[in-house]
Symmetry: C2
């Protein structure tokens, strides 16, 4: 019996998925353990896998199979959605001319390299010409996609990270937060000043002990070390494959708190990947949704659960015992104040959950203006500093603490930033629905029992893969579209209630 066009497409995407898994392992290896001299050869190995994937995806046979499969009447809902996602992947892979792909890749590589030095030198002008080229090619590629998918230019870029998201829908959400944050931040800082000062537990904290504690919490959250690892890398991430999930972190012997919370964040990502529907492994419909849902799963674990007073009731005594901690710095109250400390700062990756949205909104507004040619790249530093003053009341001393701090734009990732704050808002909304649906979820936390939480997340979020778009999934699980009020309520409860 010959296979249907749809089945042949599935087979093709299984092969693509296997290539992606292979790349995933190579990528983890490069970041975590590869000897430095292997970098050049590794780059060639990865480029080769990319070329093979592109060829498998973009060739004419794929187009014919899609056309034939669209005629099939025997597909179930998962298969229909899979076919639509396959079609969009194929469209994106074929719409950008190959010479533009190559030019963009080269431009990004050059700009990123110069950016590393420009950031050290705090000299935006050093990298600007390179980033002009990147921006211009990103706009060219985005325009091709926008025309094909009938999207605005910015949405065409955004859509690759967050399928279905539209700036028209993001604008009012972010405008709401923009109005609200400055006043709320003042209130939070005032309330914080009234509380006892935060004490830092005194180190040193042996790396082996930090790791052991992290493994304890990961295991409690449901991370199965038969299907994953915890290692070290300069920039923590969650990589690998659904059957081989590889979390990384970095340890600071003088401060155990950041590695620990980083691991818990990545564990949220890992549990999502691990919970994806096995029946559609390696198919687009079985893959994770866009960045906002992915980030919602890490932020739900980190921000909603692990920075809560209830979690610290469970975790603080374990941490104190691990490190043989003595003194009031180890009190649950103090550790809670430490893990929910808020401050005005320049650096996004160091920001707390109250100020983080300001960092994102600033970038979102600036990148939209740049993409839409409403602003010149040369004006970026001044515009950045002005927005920083408006939103957080501070001005970066140099561009190193300003518009040069993130790699994204210099490396060609435009349209990515809003997903962080969409993820934070989504996390708050999903978590509220979860604890309302099953009282055992909040009851379990002080006891270190996360089984009810993870069971609910797996059933309601993870196991649906990409069957429905993020916005619809949110409506299904929480009964309403993304609502900034839920996020604001969470922040008010945590930072003002005392």
């Amino acid at each position: 019996m010959s296979l249907s066009a749809y089945s042949k497409l599935e087979n093709r995407f299984t092969r693509l998925g296997l290539l992606e898994e292979t790349s995933g392992i190579l990528h983890w290896d490069s970041a975590a353990i590869m000897p430095p001299g292997a970098a050049l050869a590794r780059g060639e190995q990865v480029a080769q896998l990319k070329a093979l994937s592109h060829n498998l995806l973009a060739n004419g046979e794929t187009a014919d199979l899609i056309a034939a499969a669209l005629e099939q009447q025997d597909l179930n809902q998962w298969q229909k959605t899979n076919l639509e996602l396959i079609r969009r992947k194929w469209l994106r892979a074929t719409v950008i001319p190959e010479d533009l792909v190559i030019a963009l890749s080269k431009a990004c590589s050059a700009s990123e390299t110069v950016w590393r030095n420009a950031r050290i030198a705090a000299d935006f002008e050093m990298v600007r010409p390179y980033t002009e080229t990147v921006l211009s090619l990103v706009r060219e590629a985005g325009t091709a996609v926008a025309e094909k998918l009938d999207l605005s230019l910015y949405d065409a870029l955004l859509d690759q990270f967050e399928p279905g998201a539209r700036s028209q829908e993001i604008d009012p959400l972010f405008d709401d937060l923009t109005q609200w944050i400055p006043g709320f931040l003042d209130d939070v800082l005032t309330a914080q000043d009234r509380r006892p000062p935060i004490q830092m537990p005194e180190g040193p904290f042996a790396v082996a002990t930090q790791r052991e504690l992290a493994v304890t919490f990961m295991s409690a959250l449901g991370f199965d070390f038969d299907y994953g690892r915890l290692d070290i890398s300069l920039h923590p991430f969650c990589g690998g494959t659904p059957d081989d999930i590889r979390i990384t972190t970095r340890y600071d012997e003088n401060d155990f708190t950041s590695a620990l919370m980083g691991v818990l964040h990545e564990t949220g990502h890992a549990m999502y990947e691990r919970g994806l529907p096995k029946d559609y492994r390696r198919q687009p419909v079985g893959a994770a949704l866009g960045m906002s849902i992915h980030e919602s799963q890490s932020l739900l674990v980190e921000m909603q659960v692990c920075r809560s007073r209830e979690f610290l009731d469970y975790a603080a005594p374990l941490a104190r015992a691990s490190f043989n901690g003595t003194g009031t710095a180890w009190d649950v109250d103090n550790l809670y104040r430490l893990y929910t400390k808020v401050e005005r700062g320049f650096i996004r990756v160091d920001a707390d959950e109250v100020t983080y949205p300001a960092h994102v909104i600033l970038r979102y507004q600036l990148e939209k203006a740049l993409i839409n040619d409403e602003m010149k790249l040369a004006d970026l530093p001044a515009a950045w500093n002005q927005k920083m003053q408006t939103l957080l009341g501070i001005t970066p001393p140099t561009d190193r603490e300003g518009c040069l701090q993130d790699i994204h734009w210099f490396d060609g990732a435009w349209g990515y930033f809003p997903t962080y704050t969409l993820g934070a808002m989504t996390a708050a909304q999903i978590y509220r629905a979860a604890v309302q649906a099953d009282p055992a979820i909040s009851a379990g936390i002080p006891a270190g029992n996360f089984t009810p939480l993870m069971a609910w997340l797996r059933q309601n979020i993870h196991a649906s893969g990409s069957l429905v778009p993020a916005a619809e999934l949110l409506k299904q699980t929480t009964g309403q579209p993304l609502d900034p009020q839920v996020f604001k309520d969470h922040l008010k409860r945590r930072y003002l209630a005392d």
Copy 2:
């Protein structure tokens, strides 16, 4: 300007080489650090890479390019040899029908799985039916190759591990050793009994310290950690890629000697891979020669150099200092006796260099008889035990210590075993030529200076890649064909001279 057929072939083999490098990293990862639950998915990833490689190698375009390149008059000697090696690779890839490849792969997998239990149960009959199937399919595949390459059936199998080797040339070498070993072994054991008893240094030996010491010796031998790693795996090996060489070992806290010598052995393999000609990276002519030259490089480092009295003059004080060793067990004389201890034993992988050839010759004679249908598989256990008695004067208590001990035959690797002893003989002959050519080589060893040795090996062995066949390379570098007398002289000098 359009590329010549030869250049197109080179490009194709660069792509094949990149896929092989990728497989090399995945293989290392599986053996060293992969979580167990990932095994199934990893198997699929590797199979996918294999299929891609096979398709790239065996398709019609390759055949056309080879035919066209054979007409080119502008190729230098490296390119001509490369083309011939490419042609042979292509022949091997196309001569075995695809359904036979699949049947063989399945049969090997089944036989290997049953063998693991049969070995534990010491029950050869348990696995025999599965191995009958493997043997029959190996013969079928071998026959196809033999006809195409005009070789005997056994040589067709041998040739895949050791290109150019012929059993007709191996037979007299091995017959010579077969006659010589039993009497020599008696003499060695008598001489050994006259020496002071061997003392084992007392542990425990911390793994971290063992590793540190291994790294010291690896570095002294020229292993560059910018281009490689040392890790742990159940079965030690040297894997990865020439720019990213990954050695593994396993540590025993009660005995530091075996991990250390294992690492030095693998370092010999590593230095060969690292010294291959960069200009022909990823081309067949730039790759390592067959197993006997590869094994000669590991055995040259381990057996010729690192188990010598001169090496221990350098290494023993370092080891003693690392482990804070006290007492006469740490004397150079004692450690030398320990590292050159000879005994009659059942297990090949535990054998010393005097008895090792007996283990290999036994297997070579038996596998040849089985492949040539001169013996039934059912008769293997009895034949094994009888040969063991003749060669080493001992009889295995069960088949676990007899014909079930090695994975090779059960996993489909027939024609592999002789390369071990060819490698040991080759090592002796190359090392003799090296120390004759440059007196600084032996002079450097007690001082821990291996630069002259490695410079000579790189220039005379490593850098020639596969430009000339193993037998010719041996003649070029040592002035004569493989001569068992050189190996016997080495053994006599080491084991009887006192």
